[in-house]
């Protein structure tokens, strides 16, 4: 399944946040979106997931959803968004309960996704008993349970320390290698972007426009070992971002 954003423009109270953004997320592709703070990345992702209506432009899906997909467009949130009153398995169960799945089958799905995210031992734990990294793994398990076609990830690793982030990145790469999900991955962290993205879309400062697109053909699984080759790419993206940040800075001092 493909996600197409066509000429998305959006305003909040007279202030333009997104300006004419078009992009495509192809089947099995991870598209990373980077950009300065406040340029509208989260807004773009909300529009892509149908949680918000753009003022102009359209978010479109093309192609059939994969067999058995309960929620083709599935989010992973920066703050995990787990229900604190439900256990790990209860949180996964939540997203299956509305689909009329028999209890036994639901149990099987829950056991399967918890096993895939190495959480089987924590099925009965409450979110407050888990570390940040484990909470995000629960959120990933919950997303997997509905068999998504496209994952929408808004800075999923930003709330985690760098070691945990590294581990979860490996998990995501392993997962992608197995399941070839597509994803739209918003991040501040350029290292994450070059490790996970087959394409990196750099947005300008507000109003967010597409400033540059960087393609990376290196297979995801090899990237951890070939970090040195990614370094120049990361540097290039960083240069663009720095320019934007500097210009944003100058703009504010002009107003003052």
């Amino acid at each position: 399944m493909q996600l197409l954003l066509r000429n998305i423009t959006h305003h909040y109270g007279g202030r333009t946040v997104l300006d004419d953004i078009s992009l495509t997320v192809d089947d099995g592709e991870i598209v990373c979106i980077v950009g300065p703070s406040g340029c509208g990345k989260s807004t773009l992702l909300r529009i892509a997931g149908g949680l918000e209506k753009p003022d102009q432009g359209q978010a479109l899906l093309s192609g059939p959803a994969p067999e058995g997909s309960l929620n083709p467009l599935t989010y992973i949130f920066q703050d995990f968004a787990l229900l604190p009153w439900r256990s790990v398995e209860g949180n996964v169960s939540l997203v299956l309960e509305d689909h009329g799945i028999a209890a036994a089958e639901r149990k099987a799905i829950i056991a399967d996704v918890l096993a895939r995210t190495n959480l089987s031992d924590f099925a009965k734990a409450l979110p407050r008993q888990l570390s940040g990294g484990m909470k995000q793994r629960v959120a990933i398990a919950r997303a997997l349970a509905v068999k998504p076609a496209i994952m929408l990830m808004d800075e999923p690793l930003s709330a985690l320390d760098s070691q945990t982030r590294e581990l979860l990145m490996d998990d995501l790469v392993a997962l992608w290698t197995r399941e070839r999900f597509s994803a739209c991955y918003v991040t501040h962290n350029l290292n994450e972007a070059v490790r996970l993205g087959s394409r990196i879309i750099v947005l300008s400062r507000r109003p967010g426009r597409i400033r540059d697109v960087v393609e990376i053909d290196m297979p995801l699984a090899e990237r951890a070992d070939r970090l040195a080759e990614l370094e120049p790419l990361q540097r290039r993206v960083w240069e663009i971002m720095r320019e934007e940040a500097r210009e944003a800075d100058r703009e504010i001092s002009d107003v003052a």
Partner: protein, 279 residues
């Protein structure tokens, strides 16, 4: 000699000065431990001082009867079998009034919390009616609901309804918006979001509302039993007051306090069960 021993300690780059002292401790506090026997001890000490004061004549018997006299009145009540009649009548009014008031309050609170139209239409009404003393409306209630149980239950119902509404809609407003957005992003139905996300999220506020509304219900019980009640703890207290039978009056007040204690304990149990997920 002491100089030598401190040298032995492998301190990483610490320059030694003679004057060593521990870092002053400034943490601690602001956390509750359960101190089981404290509450009964406080109770018993107050009772003992009171009893001693009465026995020694320091507290005049006309001003305040001794606890033992009040206890005697209670025993009297028990032996004549009137205790259960009074308690039964009062508990019935409390339970029916409080349950109906709370259920209606939660329902209306949810409406106000969920729908803009309900908020615009009902919230000013709630704000206008909440401060009206329900005791002042007693004559109206009697006309509307009759002199029997109806008016008494209605007084308690109205008294508990408003604080529950306010606690509930405040709780709904405080539910993490991100959790609701999460529910929407997984395509949960509206009813599922309300049942599984909003109501549990508002539960802490609803339960602390219960604590307040239960106390208000007991306060209003006495008011409600002022008129035309044959039995009831409130009626018993008012009768004792009219006769200046202070020992009976204190015995009745003690009964109300015990009811209050038991309700608070029950709500505490409920909180432990329903809110064990809280940090």
């Amino acid at each position: 000699m002491s100089h030598d021993t401190t040298r032995d300690v492998p301190a990483a780059g610490v320059s030694e000065t003679g004057n060593q002292r521990p870092v002053p401790f400034r943490g601690g506090g602001f956390v509750h431990r359960s101190l089981g026997p404290v509450a009964p001890i406080v109770f018993l000490v107050i009772l003992a001082i009171w009893e001693l004061g009465s026995r020694s004549g320091f507290i005049s018997a006309i001003a305040l009867p001794a606890p033992s006299e009040a206890f005697g009145a209670l025993v009297d009540l028990f032996q004549t079998g009137m205790l259960w009649k009074h308690l039964g009548a009062s508990l019935y009014r409390l339970i029916v009034g409080w349950t109906l008031g709370s259920l209606l309050g939660i329902a209306v609170g949810l409406f106000i919390g969920l729908f803009s139209l309900a908020r615009a239409g009902l919230l000013p009404l709630v704000s206008a009616l909440f401060p009206v003393p329900k005791i002042a409306l007693l004559p109206l209630f009697i006309i509307w609901f009759g002199i029997g149980e109806g008016s008494k239950v209605a007084t308690i119902l109205f008294g508990t309804f408003f604080p529950t509404v306010i606690a509930t809609y405040g709780g709904v407003d405080n539910v993490d918006r991100n959790l609701i957005r999460m529910g929407q992003s997984f395509g949960l139905s509206w009813l599922s979001i309300v049942r599984k996300i909003i109501v549990p999220g508002a539960m802490p506020a609803i339960l602390s509302g219960f604590r307040i509304s239960a106390s208000i219900a007991i306060v209003l019980l006495v008011a409600a039993e002022m008129i035309g009640a044959e039995f009831g703890v409130g009626a018993y207290i008012l009768m004792a007051g009219a006769l200046f039978a202070l020992d009976q009056l204190i015995a009745g007040v003690a009964l109300l306090s015990v009811i209050g204690l038991i309700i608070a304990w029950l709500i505490g149990k409920l909180e432990k069960r329903l809110l064990s997920w809280r940090t």
